[in-house]
Symmetry: C2
Subunit: 118 residues, 2 copies
């Protein structure tokens, strides 16, 4: 019996950079984006109810929508079996992708070609 897998204590398994993977989808099940969270980002998300990540490129805490206004209101947060990934189910205030697309996953892969989604 592995406590991290079967226990009731939230004990994120951070990688060597102090991060876990955060997967964000809306209530309808559409995947919106994938990002990373450190302990501080998790705490900020839980305190504010709005998704906050760790930006690896900018090396700072990053509240999604802090400039665009397109915040992600967290409906529910789940954790996976080995606690190295989080699933955030959110109500997005606007497009989740910095490109303006509703979701970052706006292209389908066919072989080595990408096709826009519907």
């Amino acid at each position: 019996m592995n406590d991290r897998e079967h226990g009731t204590h939230f004990d994120p398994r951070f990688d060597s950079n102090g991060l876990v993977t955060a997967v964000v989808s809306d209530r309808a099940g559409a995947l919106l984006m994938v990002a990373h969270m450190n302990a501080e980002a998790i705490a900020a998300t839980q305190a504010s109810g709005e998704a906050t990540f760790w930006s690896r490129s900018r090396a700072r805490l990053w509240k999604k929508g802090e400039t665009s206004g397109n915040v992600l209101r967290v409906v529910e947060m789940r954790v996976d079996c080995d606690q190295d990934a989080l699933w955030l189910i959110v109500d997005p205030a606007g497009p989740a992708c910095h490109t303006g697309a509703t979701s970052c996953f706006y292209r389908r892969v066919s072989g080595d070609t990408l096709d826009p989604i519907g």
Copy 2:
């Protein structure tokens, strides 16, 4: 204009370990698992139509269900804006989690406590 973001060429942005994040959900939008893929795993998945990952713990190619039979038949593969994450929409042949749960995300996070999902 960034080709990786706006182009039609599938050009995964592998990390320093040669990996991208692979997010797997079913057609209903339930998140099943999060894993990693290298170039070989992507090629194997595309060739077989069944999800194949790179196991970091075992340092080898890992076809999901290779021992359990619980393969993940890929309905569609999408890529995100900067091409460092893949979304696999699948038909699972059985429970996706090694614990026997349908999804690896079987616990909700409430503060520092985990509650089983309904």
